[in-house]
Subunit: 280 residues, 2 copies
């Protein structure tokens, strides 16, 4: 895949990594980055993640064959729609947001006929922020979920898939709703639980934490604003996931209260089997 101009809106860890990967793999001739602050754009340019920077979306998307929104989930749909007058014909739009149903529903049917949006979510990233943490290989061998709807243009879906594959990613197609229900369990709930574990840690016990606690709660260092947006977008599925974990914690509580060694070992054994299957 070889494109003319790609515009990346939001040049943080994800947007910056897309820029680096696009440049390194020569997926586009020109990469334009959009950011709110000139220093961030300057850093992204210096790191080679973008060729040009702009603080305005409109002019920056006018020439773009592909526009990727890598901004917080709560602003993605608004940005996509506000820039609608500026897209060129046959422009392809996607995003890298951690939720898909709310964004897709907000955008669906509200774009010019010759402009196509297909949502994406690359399952990569970390608790860190900013283009200085960007990595050209962030998507390599990692899964990106692409979430078309029945209204999506099949050709546009194919092009979005090929774009992620050009960055080294494997692609999986899901509906936005399937994606959100799955990610509630694989990402949003673990984040919430990690934050809860840290939230009940008294200050005087901080020195008694070791690798286990640190691993388990690492994601709780993620940006609170970003994650509030994700949680609210995926409220219903996250509430269902919370019910499931509460039920599972109740099973542990019962086994502990009654002192049932066999029941405890069984719960831990089942977890170990699944965790071993995931790899390190």
């Amino acid at each position: 895949m070889r494109l003319g101009t790609i515009t990346i809106v939001g040049v943080g860890l994800i947007g910056g990594s897309i820029g680096l990967a696009v440049k390194q793999r020569r997926v586009a001739e020109r990469v334009i980055g959009v950011g709110w602050r000139q220093p961030t754009l300057a850093r992204a340019r210096l790191l080679g993640a973008i060729d040009e920077g702009s603080v305005e979306i409109g002019p920056a998307v006018a020439d773009a064959d592909l526009v990727i929104f890598c901004t917080p989930v709560q602003v993605i749909a608004t940005q996509i729609l506000e820039a609608a007058p500026s897209y060129k014909e046959q422009a392809l739009l996607t995003d890298a947001g951690s939720t898909k149903a709310t964004i897709t529903a907000a955008v669906d049917g509200r774009l010019p006929a010759a402009v196509h949006f297909v949502g994406s979510h690359p399952l990569a990233g970390s608790e860190k922020r900013g283009p200085e943490h960007a990595d050209a290989n962030l998507f390599q061998h990692r899964l990106t979920v692409v979430t078309p709807t029945p209204r999506s243009d099949p050709n546009a879906v194919g092009r979005v898939c090929r774009f992620w594959e050009a960055l080294g990613a494997r692609v999986k197609i899901m509906t936005p709703q399937q994606h959100d229900q799955a990610l509630a369990l694989t990402s949003h709930l673990p984040h919430l639980v990690a934050a809860a574990l840290v939230g009940i840690l008294p200050a005087e016990l901080q020195e008694l934490t070791a690798t286990g606690f640190r691993d388990t709660t690492r994601i709780a260092a993620g940006d609170p604003g970003l994650w509030t947006g994700i949680f609210l977008h995926n409220r219903q599925a996250l509430l269902e996931a919370l019910t499931r974990i509460s039920d599972q914690l109740d099973r542990f509580q019962t086994a502990l209260t009654t002192g049932e060694e066999g029941a405890l070992t069984q719960l831990l054994d089942q977890a170990k089997k699944v965790r071993d299957a995931l790899g390190s």
Copy 2:
């Protein structure tokens, strides 16, 4: 600190690491390892973690100035007491178990007058097992909690502290009860929660897990038998910790249900501040 003979009962990850550290730092002239299976002892010897191996505790502790029990928590007290006839006068005993109150209570007052036990817990390790994962620097700059009781011989307490310091560890003195209450929150609850997160993951969603899920649940790969023992030893404190995390999850649930953005951000913000303070 320089000892004659150290006997390590259990030459897995922790016991093996103690052996390697003792040898590398010349803390003892001779290191004897006790294990249930000859192949494990042979591996530990090959790795340089022990000088000699034995499948029987009695003969292996007869010459020991220091005996360290690095076996599962549910067998430590029994092993310490069963070997009582074999210890030499002024032998110092300690352990590396993740719980302290049950072990200490079982041993306290039941040893010959000239033999001293003081419990320890080095806050180091991983979900891995076996001497092949041993690391001579495992304790370096890490905290070891030493848990004397009012009956403990002050000289023995000092010697146990100096032993861990000789392996590079920092030492903190706590009562066995303080230790167990703290570790319920910093280690045992995180383990339980990680196992619960993995336990509710449907098989078809495994491919949708990324770094966040893997970090958060890494400890769930720990040995189910070992952790059942730890959970049952520290039942009361772990049940209290479970109540606390349930209350905290309820706060998230309320904020999600009512859609209170401010309340959600506040919960995540407080967690991020604490997690940032812990370092990577």
